[in-house]
Each structure stands twice: as C-alpha cells, then as structure tokens.
C-alpha cells in the first residue's frame, strides 16, 4: 500500500548567481512499512527532496510537482497544514546530532514539546511517554537523561535521542537524512539496527538518505540513485547492488572494495559531480560516462523499465543482464 507518492518533483533554489534547480522531475514511491534508500553524491538533490516533503526548503526555495501522502496532496499545503504534518505524521532526523538538538533545552523539553502541542496531553503523561521513548532507543537511565542537556551525551546517544524525538507522535513516515554519516563506524551499526527494529515493530516507513552504499545494503528494501537532481536508477536493493544497469550505479559499486571482482583493479568514476546551476545538458552524467554517445548530450533520458520494480534513466541502456557480480 503506497504511503508516499512523489511525481515530477522540481525544486528551485535561489543562489548568489540566480536561481538553480536542485531537483528535476523526480518521481518515486514509498509503501507502508517499506525502507527506501536515496543515494547519490553531494549536490545530487537528496536533501532538498526530503525537505520539500515537509515544506522546509531554505529561504526563497520553491517546489513544484505532486507529493501525495496518505491519500492526499501535501505539496500545496498551507503553513498551518504543514505544521500539522510535521512531527506528527512525517518526522525527520538530520545528519549532525551535535547541532540538530537545541543546546540549551533539556531532553525532556525537546522530547515532549511537540507531543504536547500535537496531542494536548498533560505534562506528566508526556513525561511518561518520553521515558518510554528513551528506553526504546536504549538510552541508559532515562530518568536522569530527561533533565540533562544534549552536550552531556555522545554523538551516537544524541542521534538516538533525535530518533526518540522523531517517534514521539508515532509518525507513519520517518525521513532520515544521513543518520550515521557523522558517527563512528562502530556506532553506526547500532543506529541501523534500531531503525530496522522500528520498522518491524511499528510498520514505520523510512526514507533513508545517504551516500554510503554500506548503509544501503544493510538497511534498505529499495534504493533510488540520484544524480544531478534526477533519478538515475531505482529498484530492489539486491537488484541494484548485484545487477546495476545504469553506468553511474555501476561506477559507484565498482569503486567499492567489497563489490569488486576479484583480481581486478578498483575503478573510480572520472571527473567530479556537477555544481548546482551548472548541470550538463541532456543526460547530466554523459561527461563522466564511459558508454556515452553523441545523443547523450542533447536527449533528456526517460525511464526504461528493466523489470517490474527496476528502472533506469538512460537512453542507451548499455549494460546487459550479464553484468553479474
């Protein structure tokens, strides 16, 4: 059952050199209880996609297209309607737990303020819920934690608190923007395991944004690869990682030691990702693509369905079924 359906999303931002599109005609879906990973390099538009769902685009940013959530269109929401969705039906956690929690407010305040706002519960009842949330995310000594401040916790703990904060009003969709990027590798696994658990226990849909293919492989059901504001490829995690069909995805994966063919030299994609406002014409990847042909610089790629669940945006479809890892 589809929970979130994004169609033709285009996000325009204002920069010092004029306006630029950060996301271009993006479409994807998330079902209930599904974990979708959105992956790509910096500047691919992943974060702007997430922010536009909640109406949190930066100053002078605009989003167009359609975002259908839980049976209704939310892209055209008023400020009041957005506030009714945020924290209540869709929640978000951000990349850097050191800066995304308020340094001067207690954990209790930060865990309960939106709970009391959205559900009008009493202070004591909210405090109870906060204690439960903290134990779900496995914070030791929840009672003491409530009266503490974020600076008294480590990065991993702060991210758990942020997750607890996101869960307070039992949202249907959790958006996690690079949830483990700022954390130690050893701590990452714990966070990922927690997210997995939450999905199983609460049928929580999760949209995970990351550039870390390792996170994707261990957590997600499906992946969408983004490049220069558009989709490159999307499908089931196993399909993408084992049988990538877009040159960009293939490049990303062959750069990983874990996925490379034994005995072969590690490759990397030549060139650098394009800057906002300076996306190449046609297929944005053509300048770095080893399979590029003349038409790639003028034709904007349309979707090619590889299978029911697997599609790529590439006019030439150079890789075949046999590029097996």
């Amino acid at each position: 059952m589809t929970l979130l359906k994004v169609t033709d999303l285009t996000v325009t931002l204002a920069t010092s050199s004029g306006s630029a599109q950060a996301v271009r005609n993006l479409s994807f879906e998330i079902g209930s209880g599904e974990i979708l990973g959105i992956a790509g390099e910096s500047g691919s538009g992943k974060t702007m996609t997430a922010l536009s769902i909640l109406g949190l685009l930066p100053y002078k940013g605009k989003a167009e297209g359609s975002i259908y959530f839980d049976g209704r269109e939310i892209l055209t929401s008023s400020k009041k309607e957005y506030r009714n969705i945020r924290g209540k039906e869709i929640a978000m956690i951000f990349q850097d737990p050191m800066t995304s929690l308020h340094p001067m407010l207690t954990i209790q305040t930060q865990l309960t303020e939106h709970l009391r706002h959205h559900r009008k519960v009493s202070k004591d009842s909210a405090r109870q819920s906060a204690l439960e949330l903290l134990s779900i995310v496995k914070i030791p000594d929840p009672a003491a934690a409530l009266s503490a401040h974020p600076n008294q916790f480590s990065g991993g703990m702060r991210q758990r608190i942020a997750i607890a904060m996101a869960l307070a009003c039992e949202p249907k969709l959790l958006i996690a923007d690079e949830p483990t990027t700022a954390l130690d590798v050893t701590v990452q696994a714990g966070i990922l395991k927690l997210l997995h658990q939450l999905r199983s226990e609460r049928n929580l849909s999760i949209m995970v944004i990351t550039h870390d293919l390792g996170v994707l492989s261990s957590l997600t059901d499906r992946i969408m690869i983004m490049y220069a504001g558009s989709e490159a490829e999307s499908g089931k995690t196993s399909d993408l990682l084992l049988h990538p069909r877009h040159p960009y995805t293939e490049g990303l994966i062959s750069a990983l030691p874990g996925f490379a063919k034994e005995g072969k030299v590690l490759t990397s994609i030549r060139g650098v990702p394009p800057e906002l406002g300076n996306f190449p014409s046609g297929c944005a990847f053509h300048k770095r693509c080893s399979y590029a042909q003349a038409s790639c610089s003028s034709e904007i790629p349309t979707a090619i369905q590889i299978s029911d669940s697997h599609r790529i945006y590439c006019p030439i479809n150079p890789l075949t079924e046999n590029s097996v890892r």
Binding site: R83, G87, T99, S100, L101, H102, L105, E113
Partner: protein, 357 residues
Amino acid sequence: MEPASVRVFSLRKILTGAGFLPFIVRRLLTAVVLILGMTFIAFSVTQLVPGDPVAANLGQSAYSDPEIVAAFKKEFGLDQPVYIQYVTYVGNLLQGDLGTSLSSKRPVTEDLKEYFPATLEIAMFAVFVALFLGILLGTISAMTRDRLPDQIIRVFSLTGVSMPVFWTAITAFYIFFFVLGWAPGTGRLEPGAEPPPNVTGLFTIDALLDGDFSTSRQALSYLLLPALVLAVYALGVITRFTRASVLEILGNDYVRSARAKGLSEFTVIRRHVLRPALLSIITIAGVAFASLLAGSVLVENVFSWPGLGQYAYRAAVGLDLPGIMGVSMIVATVFILMNLVVDILYRVIDPQMRDAG
C-alpha cells in the same frame, strides 16, 4: 614566624594560580594598573599646551590679577613642579581621596554624589526602553525578513544610529515642547519646585518614597523627553544587532529540527531562538550603554539637565584633573559592574556554561 621562602611561595601562587581568590586578586591588580594608566593620560592632557587649567577656571578679569592667580595655584597645588603634582594626586587617589575639583571648587566625591543620580535616572529609563523595544523590533524584523515590516524597521533603526543626538535633542524639544506643548521645559523639575528629600538622588523614586506623588509625576514628565532622546541611538544599535543575531540563529540546525516537529513559528522563536539570541544581545547592550555617556554630555547640555554629562564637560573644558578622573572612574566602575552582571546572566541563560562550571 614563617620562613621567607614559604611566604614568597604563597604570593606567587596567588598571582598565578587557579581558583577564586587569585582570580579576584588578578582582576583587582589589572584594574589598579588601568586606573594608574588613566591618571597618566589625563594628567598629560591637562599639561598640554597651550592649555592652562588656571586660565580655564578663572574669569578673564580674575586671571589678569596676579594675586588671585597665585592664590588659586596655591590652593590646588598647581605651583608645585609637574612631577610632584602627579605623584601627590596618585598618592591621594590610592588612599581613596579623589581630590578637589578645579572647576567646582568642591570635593570631587561631593560633585559625583550630586550629579551622578541625575544621569542615572535618564540613563536607566533610556536603557530600559532601548532594550525592550530594541529586542522586540529586531525580532519582528528578522521574522518578517525582507517584507514590509522588516524594511520599515531597518530604515528606522539605521536612521536612529545616524542621527546626531544633539540635533535630535533640539528637534524633539522644538516639536514636543514648543509646537505641541506636550513636554515640559528644561531641567528636572518646574522652576522653583522643591526637590524631594534625598535618598537615592533619583527624583522620581525619592518623591515616591516621600509619599509625594505629584512631584514624582512631575519629575517623570521632565525626564521623559531627554531619556527618550538619549535612547534613540542605543535603540537603533540594539534593533540592528538583534535582527542580525536572530537571523543567524534562524539558520541553525536546531531551529530546523524544531520546525520539523511542527511547532508554531511563535513557539520556535520564543523557546528555541530567543534564548541563544539573548546571549549576544546582552553583550551588545553593554556596548550600547557605553554610548549613553557620550550621548548624555550632549543631551544634558540641550535640556539643562544637571547630570554627570554636564559635569564632565565643565571638568574637561577646565582641564580639571580631579574632575576628569572622578567622572572617568565612575564610568569605569559602572562598566565593571555591568560586565559582572553580563557574566552572571550568561551562566543563567546558557546551561552549557553552567555545566562546564
């Protein structure tokens, strides 16, 4: 009787060690060095040519009479060699004696006691208005960024810091006294009115303490215009700074998190933005307060307000070393106290500093 080496050791520890007592001692020593430095500069200025404290404080006819000049010089020790004058002054100062003012011929401490409260009265009123209105307008300005309210407030606050305060004073006086008749005249009270019995020196308070409501109201009506004129510059500074501060904080990640939780914008501002903003605003309030002294020299001149500003002017023009130093030291003391208050407020507002100790 401790051996000398042990006593020397403790002295060293006090000067360089950690902890509260050494901290206070170091602060005091710095203050003393600072004040001594100030006396040196002030004294040098009074010795600059062609300036002459004698000529500056005696009328023209008196100055032409050598006997009067000699008597004046003797009374204030100006007949002594320069270095003796300086050493005598500093010596007295270190014992707590601020000397006698050349311009008023009274002990400086008496002068300060008389003139300081008057300035304090308008300054306190001005600070209160500037802070309250400034933070309010600055926050509104930031919240309505680039829209009409922001543009209007920005123009007003920029104009406020560009206005010459002496011109604002006479223009305000002209409009509100002469044209509209809303404000009373110059001075602290009606001509001929009795000041209330002296407790604090602040007429509004003293009259209240005396049960004399009408005098208190009268004093308030006389202080309104000079205080508001004095507030204009500080108001402009605080408004602009608050706007910049709030805007910067609005860009922080934790504000985005708060919005992502669906809280109303009002709650986000009130609970998540204002507290961090208050920290930097307090600092700038200190700077704004500094501008008040410069402003009061000019405002008190226009409104014939018998305060420290007027006294400072007379002392400066009279090359009156004790007078100049007296005013300077009161101002410096106010500053130190204010820094202390700011430090305390910092700790109250920011738990991170509290936890750190």
